[in-house]
């Protein structure tokens, strides 16, 4: 006689460690022991995800259920693309997630693929992250999935992770942004394609299991759930923290071991410099950060202690923006170089720096084929708005504090 042993019932995660459980390893066995199998069929996933209020965690914050429903209703022979390229230099959350919980991301990809009737799900990781690639390939090899799951190693530069660039590259073209219809309409090989950030898909993998009500049991009514937040810069314990949306920013920085904060940017290099005093008192949510001109975005905090020259850090990252241009659009290719030069003038105390930075940040905004120039403009303009005292010190001969290189500004591959 065969005894059918039902799997032990799984308790949905309690507390904020939903995506990354500190005591759970990355293997399939540990994943299933913690979360149980992905239910099949998953029910009306677009409706569940909409009810849960999941929004894209790649930075744009688009409602995920809406995108799922759009691709579900579009044509046949579709694709799901999980974007784990993490081109934002300050962000570490996607690689942390892919290393710690690769199966949860893969579950979200499979659930989404079944929901939109896509035959292939492609997980994109930057080729500059061999450790992450190895982790996800190991995970894929452990599984049997009802759709084809492919891992793609994508060229290592910021613009390659823009969704149109990913789609173009996966279709056999260059890894550069393109103009034309959105991937939901015409994506990989001209087929409707769902492109979502890997953290977004991991949340989908949880909603498919535990439902919208569970998802909403943490976070805010208008911005439910948890978010992976990278704390970077001059703190004692930099890294990735999973917190309920709405968590006090100052409390997170205390956990990360921040000392006196001189300058603070929210959203990474594609985010915004904010007033640190008001920022420390704000909740980590769009609603809490909106009055400071910022958004939660991809959840990335850049912290500069009072012992460092913030303007020099801003300048190094402005140089990174210029070097990251794919060179396709004139205002980006020429404008970001000039904008970076204007910040260098500010750093050198030259009076023409501020008007030049104002002029060129306005002149590049909205004028590229992707969001790189918009990010550069916001980076510089918001720095000018909150670093007035610093700029004054530099006009008077210098701030007397060293450049410490807290913000990494790697020169992208292929450009010196």
């Amino acid at each position: 006689m065969t005894l059918l042993v039902p799997p032990a019932p799984v308790t949905p995660p309690v507390g904020p460690a939903r995506l990354i459980a500190p005591d759970t390893g990355p293997s399939l066995g540990e994943h299933l022991a913690r979360l149980g199998p992905l239910p099949r069929p998953t029910g009306d996933l677009p409706a569940m995800v909409t009810a849960a209020g999941v929004r894209g965690r790649g930075g744009a914050g688009f409602p995920t259920g809406t995108k799922l429903a759009e691709v579900a209703g579009a044509g046949e022979s579709k694709y799901v693309v999980a974007n784990g390229t993490e081109g934002e230099p300050l962000s570490a959350k996607d690689r942390a997630l892919l290393t710690a919980s690769p199966h949860l991301v893969l579950d979200g990809m499979v659930a989404a693929a079944l929901a939109v009737r896509a035959g292939t799900a492609i997980l994109c990781v930057s080729e500059g992250r061999p450790d992450v690639l190895a982790a996800v390939r190991r995970a894929v090899a452990e599984r049997r999935d009802p759709v084809e799951v492919v891992v793609a190693a994508v060229p290592d530069r910021y613009v390659a992770g823009q969704e149109t660039a990913l789609v173009n590259w996966l279709s056999g073209g260059d890894a550069v942004p393109t103009s034309g219809p959105r991937p939901a309409r015409r994506g990989v090989r001209g087929r409707p394609t769902l492109v979502d950030n890997v953290e977004t898909l991991a949340h989908v993998g949880l909603v498919a299991r535990f439902g919208a009500g569970w998802f909403r049991s943490l976070g805010l009514p208008e911005e439910p759930g948890t978010a992976l937040v990278t704390v970077a810069g001059g703190v004692a314990r930099p890294g990735v923290y999973e917190v309920p949306i709405g968590y006090p920013l100052g409390q997170l920085l205390a956990r990360a071991g921040a000392g006196p904060v001189g300058a603070l940017a929210v959203g990474g290099y594609f985010g915004t410099w904010i007033d640190p005093v008001r920022g420390l008192a704000a909740p980590l949510s769009d609603a809490g950060l909106g009055p400071l001109g910022a958004r939660l975005g991809a959840g990335c905090l850049a912290v500069l202690p009072t012992d460092s020259c913030a303007l020099a850090e801003v300048a190094a990252v402005a140089d990174w923006f210029a070097a990251s241009s794919a060179g396709q659009c004139g205002p980006c290719l020429f404008g970001l170089a000039d904008l970076a030069a204007a910040v260098r003038w500010l750093l050198a105390g030259r009076p023409e720096g501020a008007p030049a930075a104002d002029r060129w940040s306005a002149m590049v905004e909205g004028r590229g084929g992707c969001h790189l120039p918009d990010g550069a403009a916001r980076w510089v303009r918001s720095a000018l708005a909150v670093l007035g005292q610093e700029i004054e010190w530099h006009r008077a001969g210098g701030c007397g504090r060293p450049y410490r290189g807290y913000l990494p500004a790697p020169v992208p591959g292929g450009r010196a």
């Binding site: 942004p177 393109t178 103009s179 396709q328 659009c329 004139g330 205002p331 980006c332 020429f334 404008g335 000039d338 002029r359 060129w360 002149m363 004028r367 590229g368 084929g369």
Partner: protein, 70 residues
């Protein structure tokens, strides 16, 4: 009457400046020689010239699009 607006594909545009030459009253150039187009509808009297600029753009980067909504 249709309200038309000029748009440029920034990836295709090379900054040759033909649109500026043909439409100096509506096309400005930025500090690097690339066209800045008005966000609003074109005045009716320049629409014919705008169509000519669209057809003569050496990079086929310029388009006239119909504006929807208010």
């Amino acid at each position: 009457m249709k309200r038309l607006r000029l748009v440029v594909d920034p990836i295709a545009c090379d900054g040759r400046g033909v649109c500026r030459d043909l439409l100096p009253e509506v096309v400005a150039l930025d500090d690097w020689g690339f066209p800045i187009l008005p966000a609003g509808p074109l005045p009716p009297e320049v629409v014919a010239d705008a169509r000519r600029a669209v057809s003569l753009c050496p990079r086929l980067a310029l388009r006239l699009v119909e504006m929807t909504g208010a």
